[in-house]
């Protein structure tokens, strides 16, 4: 694989002679400003984050806002150390974090294991699509927290309810993205594989699933986003551990630094999940957006 710089160079060189396909020239033209633009955007993002931090520091130290409402950045940082070593509400930060992550991982695994096969089925079979589509479209637009009370009535306030809630939040985008990806598989690729002797199951494993993979990963990314926000909200309602629970109980005792700390951790995890999946997508499907 080329590194970014050498491939850029090659493309610029390749753009010169006659007979080079137009798309390569167009790519070279589009690529050079975009590298620069990314670089600049990185700087601008850094500046605005630093600005926010400075504003926070200034406000908390000026005495205008009492620490009860806005503790200083140092206080929150100090709290990070005490909460991660001594804990808050009978559990350390890591235990709260682990509880939340465990729920989302279980829910995600379930949603992927069920959602991908269902999505494939809907993508290849009009009958399956006809049967399943209304069910998914009926529950998908409803905010998960709206049916949480029903889940609590049916399954109690234990782990199962929370995992089930997140599972449902992740499931719909995974199914929809998978079926969309599968339905969009290039007819020429399917036919080419058929004339090379592919059986139906070989078509599925060697053509349909790899081609739908970028879409499936996008579905998982969207699902994880909703799942994470749902999880934190669900932990506000009924939990003894978890980031949402930590923030909620800290708020009840007006421990504002723990509240801010919790929110920051939730944000960092959400960002890491998004970034991780984007990296995975680029790694597993480098052709995505490159061709046809």
């Amino acid at each position: 694989m080329n590194t970014l710089e050498t491939s850029l160079e090659q493309r610029l060189v390749a753009a010169a002679p006659k007979g080079v396909p137009d798309e390569i020239e167009a790519e070279a033209a589009a690529l050079s400003p975009s590298v620069w633009a990314q670089y600049r955007r990185g700087w601008l993002s850094g500046i605005s984050l630093l600005g926010l931090l400075a504003l926070w520091w200034g406000l908390s130290h000026s005495g205008i806002v009492p620490p009860l409402f806005l503790p200083s950045p140092e206080a929150v940082l100090a709290k990070l150390i005490t909460v991660s070593t001594q804990g808050f509400m009978d559990a350390t930060l890591w235990q709260h974090l682990a509880a939340s992550l465990q729920r989302i991982v279980l829910a995600l695994a379930g949603a992927v294991l069920l959602g991908i096969p269902l999505g494939v089925l809907m993508g290849v079979s009009p009958v399956a699509r006809g049967l399943l589509d209304p069910l998914i479209e009926a529950y998908r637009p409803v905010p998960p927290l709206a049916y949480l009370p029903l889940i609590v009535i049916w399954f109690g306030i234990g782990e199962l309810s929370k995992v089930l809630l997140i599972f449902l939040a992740v499931l719909a985008p995974v199914i929809i993205a998978t079926s969309h990806g599968v339905a969009q598989v290039s007819r020429n690729r399917l036919r080419a594989a058929q004339t090379l002797g592919a059986s139906r199951s070989q078509l599925l494993w060697f053509v349909i699933l790899p081609e739908a993979l970028p879409e499936i990963l996008t579905g998982i990314r969207i699902g994880l986003g909703t799942g994470w926000s749902t999880l934190v909200a669900a932990e506000l309602v009924a939990a003894t551990r978890g980031l949402g629970f930590m923030v909620q109980s800290a708020a009840q005792f007006l421990v504002t630094d723990v509240v801010i700390l919790g929110i920051a951790v939730i944000a960092v995890i959400a960002f890491a999940l998004e970034l991780g999946l984007r990296l995975l997508q680029r790694r597993l499907a480098p052709w995505h957006g490159q061709l046809d």
């Binding site: 020429n188 690729r189 036919r191 594989a193 004339t195 090379l196 002797g197 490159q290």
Partner: protein, 263 residues
């Protein structure tokens, strides 16, 4: 004699008054490079899809080596105009894909892929990906893939239609070389008259409304190329140009007729 044949084939697509193909018969022998030439709507793609097994005839039969063709099969490989390589596999794995489907061991199929890649003048490209290749290179990989799996027929669906003029000329010469060395019969469809004349051992001229074969000829220019004459010399030969104009006139003639019938 194992030939690929269409026998009195008619195909109708739902919702269309005229058949896409009406009573078409064609035989492709083991040493043929048969080219179907015609404007869009003449049924040449339908004919190729019949041979490939993607489309079933409403009447008539398609057979290969005496057996009726009932669906796609590994002995009849197709080279598409675009969009047919697998972007998640590198060039070598793409070429070896058919052998992998047949369960050929990895070392053996990769060796075969390298061999075929040399044949299409892409010996260095094995580790690259289709989206890193130019249009002409992609088509060469497509041809290599069709050759690698020991198919007996290459069905080529306007393989050079999306390429620029320079690359197209190179690919035509490459195809003649491959055809000669790989000893594979080829059925190629195109709407490019020069391409058809240059490549074909047998040229079938097709016309729309309904799609049918209006003329069959053996131009013989590819034999001259194989005998060592240069492609440009052949294409600028007065005999070549005269035949080209004659074909063009025939095509326009047949194109007018159905309109007159309607009027």
């Amino acid at each position: 004699m194992s030939s690929l044949s269409a026998n009195q084939v008619t195909v109708r697509y739902p919702g269309q008054t005229r058949p896409a193909l009406a009573g078409v018969s064609l035989d492709i022998g083991p040493d043929d490079l048969t080219v179907a030439l015609g404007p869009s709507g003449c049924g040449k793609t339908t004919l190729l899809n019949l041979f490939a097994g993607f489309v079933k005839p409403d009447s008539g039969t398609i057979s290969f080596a005496g057996q009726p063709v009932t669906g796609p099969g590994a002995e009849r490989a197709v080279v598409f105009q675009h969009d047919a390589l697998l972007p998640w596999l590198n060039v070598r794995d793409n070429v070896a894909f058919g052998l992998r489907l047949q369960g050929v061991a990895k070392a053996e199929r990769l060796a075969r892929a390298d061999e075929v890649l040399r044949l299409v003048d892409l010996p260095e490209a094995g580790g690259r990906y289709s989206w890193q290749l130019s249009g002409g290179q992609r088509q060469r990989v497509g041809i290599a893939r069709a050759l690698a799996s020991h198919s007996q027929v290459l069905l080529m669906d306007e393989p050079f239609g999306a390429l620029d003029a320079f690359t197209r000329e190179q690919m035509q010469e490459l195809l003649l070389k491959v055809w000669q060395q790989a000893r594979r019969r080829i059925f190629l469809i195109t709407h490019d008259i020069e391409e058809a004349l240059f490549l074909a051992t047998e040229l079938v001229l097709m016309s729309p409304g309904p799609g049918r074969i209006v003329e069959t000829l053996r131009p013989g220019f590819s034999q001259r190329y194989r005998a060592g004459e240069s492609a440009r010399a052949i294409k600028s030969d007065p005999a070549f140009i005269a035949l080209r104009e004659q074909l063009l006139a025939t095509l326009f003639d047949h194109r007018r007729k159905p309109e007159e019938e309607l009027a």
